[in-house]
């Protein structure tokens, strides 16, 4: 239900505000004549807590509405959304271990697969083509320093 999710977001914002203000209060405030590093964060934190609390109370008082009916042919693709998010979170880990080409191929393969599941071989070939093209553009053409291993060395030599 939309109302419940709205309340959850409002609660998360309220939690963040309280957390921010609690840490801001540990900083030195100083005086108006000689403001310290905590003056502005405390001001922001206080206002943020007030606004998020107001927002939360306002939503809490509202009755929870029914979810709107989905339009035909317009189903929400949550699997693709969460899959894409997972790929972006996993990427830094695999990049350190597998280096650019392998890590990016794995992530691109999964991205392509979660967006439109097709045959594994054709998805893999498409992912490889995208990665090699991006390696050529970024590493060779633009000279961007990417994490390199044996495979990258091979492609550096291959592209000349």
């Amino acid at each position: 239900m939309k109302g419940k999710e709205d309340r959850l977001i409002a609660l998360a914002l309220l939690g963040f505000s309280a957390f921010y203000l609690a840490f801001a209060l540990r900083l030195k405030v100083g005086s108006l004549k000689n403001p310290g590093p905590g003056l502005v964060p405390i001001g922001i934190g206080g206002l943020l807590l007030f606004c998020t609390a107001w927002h939360f109370i306002r939503l809490w008082r509202k009755p929870i509405g029914e979810s709107p009916e989905k339009e035909p042919g317009k189903g929400m693709n949550y699997w693709a959304v969460y899959g894409t998010l997972a790929c972006t979170i996993v990427y830094p880990f695999v990049l350190e271990i597998l280096k650019f080409i392998l890590a990016t191929t794995v992530v691109t393969f999964f991205l392509l697969f979660v967006l439109r599941p097709q045959r594994i071989l054709s998805t893999f070939l498409l992912a490889s083509a995208i990665v090699i093209l991006s390696f050529w553009v970024f590493a060779i053409l633009l000279g961007v320093a990417l994490p390199s291993g044996l495979l990258e060395e091979f492609f550096f030599r291959w592209f000349g």
């Binding site: 606004c51 998010l85 790929c87 972006t88 979170i89 990427y91 990016t104 991006s134």
Partner: protein, 503 residues
Amino acid sequence: MFDFFQGFLTGLSSAWTPLYLSYALVGCILGTITGVLPGLGPLGAMAILLSFTLRMDATGAMILFAGIYYGAMYGGSTTSILLNIPGEAASVVTCMDGYQMTQRGRAGAALTVSAVGSFVAGTISIFGLMVATTFLAGVALRFGPSEFFAIGVCGLFLLVRLTGGSILQAVIMILLGMALSTVGYDFLTGTERFTFGINELGQGIDFLPVAMGIFGIAEVLITIEQNELVQPVRKIRWRELLPTREEWMRSTAPILRGSFLGFIIGLIPGPSPVIATFVSYISEKKLSKRPEEFGRGAIEGVAGPEAANNSAVGGAYVPLFALGIPFTPAMAMVLATLMLHGLTPGPNLIKDKPVLFWTVIASMYIGNFMLLVLNLPLVNLFVRILMVPRHILMPVIVLICLIGVYTVNSSPLDLFLLALFGFIGFVLRKYGFQPAPLILAMVIGPMLETSLRQALNITGGSISAIIFCPIGLTLFIAVALTYIGPLLWKSWRRTPLSPAKEG
């Protein structure tokens, strides 16, 4: 002293080099493509390309971004007219009459009027930008921390008023942006703030992963959440592109009006190109002798708003160049680019870097001309971009974001921040929060804090001296009027004057 015309001529000769011409061309093409693609707007494109501009000089980066911004305005109108799909928010109004013209077989005329109108408006607004910036920058040189604090605060208040949607939600977004801007070492005392022992956070949260997450990754997530089908595209023939004499006659005045309106609205904080199109459309409808035709394919409904959104782009550059304060999220991106190149925009920029300023101005004229020449002949090609399957395009955008963020600091933390802010941006937008004020506040935040603390130091802690400085007071009253004015107007109109009630 750098003379006005001498400055422009120097800029023109500098912009007329193969390198800068190629940046302008690439910017225009990329801008048109992002304008054509629904979901990915100029902001997303700028965010994605932000890290790659590090390989250019500051002038080149500014030229590229100006091309993207203008190009997106041109590109957005193409899909609005042909497919009833607004490529970006500023083209929503164009759908109303543009698509109706397509239904009546006048798509070519609508596209030509839109392109010519955009060109005329762009040219007028760039001239306005030149005049207004040089004048305002001269005045702003006398501003102190109190004035800059007042301008920043008033800008944020106006942004809240004009963002649309809930005012409370916009305020929360601004405060969140300001909270993010306080992370890292305090610039005056060196005290660590909200770093939680993570050394990399000492320098603060980088603008780049936040912007790319909120506008790049979140945009992709929103696009892929909807399983939308690609519409078939009708081909436009060359001879269809020519409007009739009557269509030209009916378009001339709306184009000129839209250009002036757009430039003025562009100076105001908030989504100025979007507001400009709505104001222009309403004014044209009110001024028209045939208001009943609006919504059924009136050419004035295409000419005015299209001129207005392009003109607003020029207006939006004025506060950035003259005061160093971005009033729109796209300008925040431009500011971030300049800062990445070690430049501080503001009144001193024109004095210290006149060649950069005038080269960018001259390149805007060139870019506008390029867009006019490119857009009409290549209209069929640009529309075909919509046919690229989303399941291929979206992973490519995600990859560009990932590589783009990684290349700046080679830091895995930046990649985590990208994913985190991508998710936050997606959730916030899904539940009605506009992320643009967050980004703007994050950029303006350090400037506001610096000016406030400096002003408090100078005035001996007197808050009244900061609020009641002449410029500050004028601005605060003006902003207060924008809040109170509509309420007073409403209550005045509602006041019953009938004798029955009075008795």
